[in-house]
Symmetry: C2
Subunit: 156 residues, 2 copies
């Protein structure tokens, strides 16, 4: 599955929204822009910060609508806030690298070969347990360079 080209992004989003009987308004377009530009899952405060004039409730509502339309996905991290990202058919399959100390999240694409091996094996396992339509979610959790440095400063 090829990720949608950046130039097609808005068109794709719009058609999916319309299919759900919804409009692609200015605010929703802004949200998509923010998510597309971020390149990693974004928490609500990040969206509101510096974007004075967005109502919190509207942002949540719009993110929910976009999720409903299948263009946005909500990611759970052991953080206080939920985070949002574009769905994988818009951005390509990827995983997350999460800092256990500061909570920073960044995208991490994976070698196709490992991905394929994993997929095959996992699919078999899941089927064995009676599950269908299986996808997976893989997060790497560790200390980002910044936090690691702060924890053991240069060992000098």
């Amino acid at each position: 599955m090829m990720p949608v080209m950046a130039s097609d992004l808005h068109g794709t989003v719009e058609s999916r929204l319309r299919a759900a009987g919804q409009r692609y308004t200015v605010q929703r377009r802004r949200l998509i822009d923010i998510l597309a530009r971020a390149g990693s899952p974004v928490a609500l405060p990040d969206i509101l910060r510096g974007r004075r004039g967005l109502a919190q409730s509207s942002v949540y509502r719009n993110l929910a609508d976009l999720e409903q339309a299948g263009v946005v996905r909500r990611v759970m991290v052991e953080d206080e806030h939920g985070r949002y990202e574009l769905t994988e058919d818009l951005t390509g399959h990827h995983h997350h690298l999460i800092c256990s100390s500061c909570g920073r999240v960044q995208d991490l694409p994976m070698p196709v070969e490992l991905e394929r091996t994993m997929d095959r094996t996992l699919d078999g396992l899941a089927r064995g347990a009676g599950f269908a339509e299986v996808s997976h979610r893989l997060d790497l959790i560790g200390l980002c360079s910044g936090c690691a440095a702060r924890a053991a400063p240069t060992t000098a």
Copy 2:
């Protein structure tokens, strides 16, 4: 890393708590029993249900203390409730099979071989991105047999 034997479980928990200056009280022992018996991450309502006489606040506090002592881990699912399980050094490394419809979570051990391959590759990837002390979290998300049946009843 060998999982602690069931018979040693309480002893291990007790010594870790004491090392943290805490006591292994009756209520905490009950919690550990519940988690050990469940075999999959447990949400708070499951703990309170049928266990009349446990104060919600005490349960949360104890789970936090047990997490602090390194014997319990909090698992985030896109569910409304957080879930708790024993740490992997007590139960062995495993992953989760999550039903996207009903939210049911069950443990899923993985073939050692794939696990090893993944570990090596992921460790390299994470190091390349400047991360240290990396562990991973892998969840399979799909439709459990019950929900699948309900969605497409017997195609008769």
